[in-house]
Symmetry: none
Subunit: 238 residues, 2 copies
């Protein structure tokens, strides 16, 4: 069972990166990715705050944007304190862990910047929203503490034999598979005037991507859809 | 249901007291007790670290020893990272929460000093040992993080969170909607030679229909897909 990747998006303080690494290792998670950390990377404040979880920091990988950071992952969760009115499943940490263990493959959890969290475009890249059910009257959760709750649930579920999802002809599609599908579809639609106006286009694209992402496709299904799209753009046979 | 009292025993840093207060309030716990804090009480470092959980700090009660701090409590747990070889029940946070909620009355959880934890005499005053199941190779858990896991489990057990989906723009598609989609897609593919042979065609159709059906589309999403298919069959604009 591959443990989930923890992706910190635009983290501000090196100290918080260190604390998140410590929280991860407390519950056996080791794979950390950083997207555009504000103060660069490596950050000298991270090590002391990690209190010995140096291996997690040393292995951290750096990315420019969320899309690149999750390109090789299957199911990806966006941790948010409250729902965003997006057409995505909203799950608790416990439910997310159950899903990740059932799906197999490599999953990831995105955590936003300390102050601002994830922006809507970043949330849109995830498959599901992971919401920690906090006290609504005091919901500001420290970054490392949000990480530790997810890590704790992952570790806790380890004792349980995971129910495997019925296989659908192979592993879940990676984010790179989805990006390829999106690019092909949107290019073909663009060439045919599908996007009515520059103002509407981002909304149309987001709803198409959401629709496809919610379908939880396998890599094989993505290949099938790409063949379908290609075929549809041909002229009819005489 | 009375929420458990959190008892910090000989806490060293005011900052950690503040963070513990914040962690408590994140999950709705409000009653904090301090036993012989090293730097006295109040401690000016606590407030900033509490990030707004001032009411918890303001209501904190000060005691000289553990016995006094727990005198009015029913079931008391001693949080430790590993068992102490004492003749006491050892429970996980989840089990402790279940017991506390079943027992009713007012329970408490003791957390030891940052560096040294609880000493054996202090553990002896508790009814049960609460052990957070951590990675045995990296078990040093930050004080506020131990508190937040206990608080999280308490809150979680109280909030029955129904799994929900955010609205996906309306009701699920009907079977008739799906039939219309299948007919349009298959006709367009047929006209373009997608189905290689009469023998393969039923298999290809079944896998396309399964893919679409598994996507659990809404009626609106079906309309979107039908528009996409129609557009794709047009020639590109010059």
């Amino acid at each position: 069972m591959t443990s989930p990747v923890i992706v910190l998006v635009r983290p501000q303080l090196g100290e918080n990166i260190g604390k998140a690494a410590r929280a991860m290792l407390n519950f056996g998670l080791t794979e950390l990715r950083l997207v555009a950390p504000r103060d660069g990377w490596p950050n000298p404040a991270a090590g002391p705050a990690a209190s010995g979880a140096d291996a997690v920091l040393d292995g951290a990988r750096l990315f420019d944007d969320v899309a690149a950071a999750i390109a090789d992952l299957g199911h990806v969760y966006a941790a948010t304190v409250r729902p965003r009115g997006m057409a995505k499943p909203v799950v608790t940490p416990e439910q997310a862990v159950r899903e990740m263990r059932a799906a197999g493959g490599r999953s990831g959890i995105l955590f936003g910047a300390e102050r601002s969290g994830l922006d809507n475009d970043e949330v849109a890249l995830a498959d599901s929203i992971l919401t920690i059910p906090v006290n609504p009257a005091f919901s500001s959760l420290n970054l490392a503490q949000a990480v530790i709750i997810a890590a704790y649930e992952w570790h806790k579920a380890g004792a349980v034999v995971p129910p495997r999802r019925e296989t659908r002809g192979g592993p879940p599609a990676s984010k790179a598979d989805y990006q390829g599908l999106y690019a092909q579809l949107e290019e073909a639609l663009e060439a045919r005037g599908y996007f009515r106006s520059a103002a509407r286009k981002p909304v149309q694209i987001r709803s198409l991507r959401t629709l496809l992402q919610n379908a939880r496709l396998t890599a094989q299904e993505i290949r099938t859809l790409r063949g379908v799209i290609k075929t549809l753009t041909w002229p009819p046979k005489p």
